[in-house]
């Protein structure tokens, strides 16, 4: 399949800090590609390069065949971009913001209403309200509308769900799926691991490098080793005990449980864990084998990366 976005060997540093380190990837039509990584991993820099706001130190990227450096005017008029923080005029109303962004792209709300219908129906009751007075979830919906109103060829959303409540986030991802189905590929970044599974493909980015890029199902299925969850009242003591046992990759607190990742599931080591806990803990505990989620995969990749 012909790729829609193609990035080759992108690097960018700020002074001594290497923000992007030789990043290459492809985005195909009709997919949502998520860039997932902690703060400072290079997501925003990558987005600024793709949206022509930054020039990379080396490497190049094309969107729909246009080069982000040479053809930036063409790209600017054909992409939709939602920056990492709310960037609309707080003193203009919902409708005025939308109209303004439609007009500067030579379009109008009426002409492309179909594009935003799904999202805008929720916003319509607040059309006269100033954008600055909206709630977090509503602001984000308005920003999405403003990025969509000129019928872009592709959407770039930089951490669109940061600081938004869980319900709004779910709604927002439902909207994104609709938009993708309408034929607009989406490139989205997020620090939330649970959102990874809503993407068609995920790029795990850390320290300016893409560690892996694939479907979330594939990444989870390829988790190396196995995971045990231990539930007990004495989490702190248990964690200390467990970290002294040899043959365990890592021990970390996960919600109300302790997760242990093993390079390989073997009976002797499970017996040893059981024995230690039996001897030292005064209260009851349980050991269960669990399926890894995306966050476990990400943490495993991060550990491997930092060991290198």
């Amino acid at each position: 399949m012909q790729s829609f976005i193609s990035a080759k060997n992108l690097s960018k540093s700020y002074g001594d800090t290497l923000a992007l380190d030789d990043v290459s990837f492809q985005v195909y039509p009709n997919e949502i590609v998520g860039f997932i990584g902690p703060d400072g991993s290079g997501k925003s820099t990558l987005f600024q390069i793709l949206t022509t706001l930054l020039i990379p130190d080396s490497g190049s990227a094309t969107i729909a065949g246009f080069d982000t450096g040479r053809d930036f005017p063409k790209i600017r008029s054909s992409i939709g971009y939602m920056p990492g923080r709310f960037s609309l005029y707080p003193d203009l109303s919902v409708e005025e913001n939308l109209r303004f962004f439609a007009n500067i792209f030579g379009s109008s709300i009426e002409e492309n209403y179909e594009m935003i219908k799904g999202v805008y129906t929720l916003l319509a009751p607040f059309a006269k309200r100033k954008a600055g007075a909206l709630s977090g979830g509503m602001k984000q919906k308005l920003a999405l509308c403003c990025a969509l109103i000129h019928k872009p060829l592709v959407l770039f959303l930089d951490e669109p769900t940061t600081g938004v409540d869980a319900v709004s986030r779910t709604e927002f991802w439902d909207n994104l799926v609709q938009i993708r189905d309408g034929g607009i590929p989406i490139v989205v970044s997020t620090p939330y691991m649970d959102e990874a599974t809503r993407c068609d493909r995920v790029a795990m980015i850390y320290g300016g490098k893409i560690m892996q890029m694939d479907t979330p199902e594939y990444i989870i299925a390829n988790y190396q080793g196995s995971l045990l969850a231990i539930r007990t009242q004495e989490r702190y003591l248990a964690k200390q005990l467990l970290s002294q046992i040899k043959g365990i990759d890592s021990v970390f607190t996960f919600g109300d449980a302790i997760h242990i990742s093993l390079p390989e599931r073997t009976e002797p080591i499970i017996d040893e864990i059981d024995a230690v806990l039996q001897r030292e803990l005064s209260s009851t505990y349980s050991i269960t084998e669990i399926l890894p989620n995306f966050e476990d995969c990400f943490l495993q990749f991060m550990r491997q990366k930092s060991h290198e």
Binding site: L54, P83, L88, Y89, D91, L92, E96, F101, I104, F105
Partner: protein, 366 residues
């Protein structure tokens, strides 16, 4: 063109929506003009004087009567003790000591010149100069009226004040204050407005649109230009209506100067905003620039009285040229023929500053 129009209409929508903005743009300058014009007034209203009469003659008593008859002079001390009088001077109980020497009457009657000593508190230099002139005038008048063979044939001077016959101090100050207010609005608003787009991040959104660099800049500058022009003429109306300042010159010439000058200020504002990331940074730099402008502009002190380096600096800043030409147009009715030098300087500034600003303002960071 359409994009610029869209940006301008957006800008006006934002300005007219914000009550604070409206107050800052329109109410504040009007109030400042009304208040400052009355406060920034060097006119001498009251002079307290101590009388130190060592002669105690009828002629010296006559001279004292002359001072008492003058409305602005008030007698606060009458003693022969010169040390006590100096203390009064020090303690601000007297602004001036007028000391009549022994033998004052005898010398005058015999036709000898006599010297009256005046001691003035010169902490406020310009007030001291005025006091000296007033005292001199009364003493001069006394010599001419009462006397005497000595004065005959002595040269006497009279002054006639042109262009501002009633010595209306406000006529001199108001054009200057007006210029400062317009400068502050033009420079500060532009710098803050663009810095605000950076601060709240909207510039990032705008950058990823087909809007071009020059369109964004013009979309910011044109509304500020219009506001500056409106504000200036509102100020002129207040000056003429409330303070009875004459407007002798050609309004079109004034408008031409104003537009060119505003471009200079807008350009400086643009330059400041290109170097700041937040409104606060922009505010500090703009404030500094305005302070320098105000003090070197010749508004509060005549440029001719500055030390050499001050005169040079003063000539280098655009506001000096605009204050001078505004005064000349409003009060003397000067035309382009007389002011072309100032005009050329302002035009050069407008071009230079704006080129620099456009160069400094880059749409793509890095």
């Amino acid at each position: 063109m359409r994009n610029i129009f869209l940006l301008i209409s957006k800008e006006f929508k934002q300005i007219f929506r914000s009550r604070n903005m409206l107050a800052i743009i329109f109410m504040l300058p009007i109030i400042q003009l009304l208040v400052l014009s009355n406060a920034a007034d060097f006119e001498l209203k009251l002079v307290q004087f101590a009388w130190e009469d060592l002669d105690k003659s009828s002629l010296s008593a006559d001279l004292l009567q002359k001072f008492l008859a003058a409305p602005i002079f008030r007698l606060t001390g009458d003693s022969e003790n010169s040390e006590a009088n100096d203390i009064m001077l020090r303690d601000n109980e007297a602004d001036v000591i007028i000391s009549i020497p022994k033998g004052f009457e005898r010398d005058l009657v015999n036709g000898f010149p006599s010297t009256i000593q005046i001691r003035i508190n010169a902490i406020d230099g310009s007030a001291a100069g005025l006091i000296s002139a007033y005292v001199g005038e009364i003493i001069g008048g006394f010599y001419r009226s009462e006397l005497i063979q000595v004065q005959q044939g002595a040269p006497s001077t009279t002054s006639r004040y042109l262009f501002n016959p009633e010595l209306n101090y406000k006529a001199y100050m108001i054009p200057g204050i007006l210029v400062i207010l317009v400068s502050i609005i033009g420079l500060l608003l532009t710098a803050l407005n663009i810095a605000r787009e950076k601060e709240i991040g909207t510039i990032e959104q705008i950058n990823v649109t087909p809007i071009k660099k020059y369109q964004f800049i013009l979309g910011k500058l044109i509304p500020m230009l219009i506001i500056g022009i409106v504000e200036f003429w509102v100020g002129v109306l207040i000056g003429c209506g409330v303070f009875h300042i004459p407007f002798v010159g050609n309004p079109l010439v004034q408008l031409l100067f104003l537009v060119v000058y505003l471009w200079v200020m807008l350009g400086i504002g643009l330059l400041i905003s290109s170097q700041s990331q937040t409104q606060q940074q922009a505010m500090f730099i703009a404030f500094f620039v305005i302070m320098v402008f105000v003090f070197l502009s010749g508004l509060f002190s005549a440029v001719e009285n500055m030390p050499n380096w001050g005169t040079v600096l003063s000539k280098m800043i655009p506001i000096t040229h605009f204050i001078r030409s505004t005064r000349a147009i409003m009060l003397n009715g000067a035309g382009m023929m007389h002011l072309y030098k100032d005009f050329v300087v302002l035009v050069l500034y407008a071009i230079g500053v704006n080129l620099l600003a456009i160069f400094a303002y880059r749409k793509t960071s890095n």
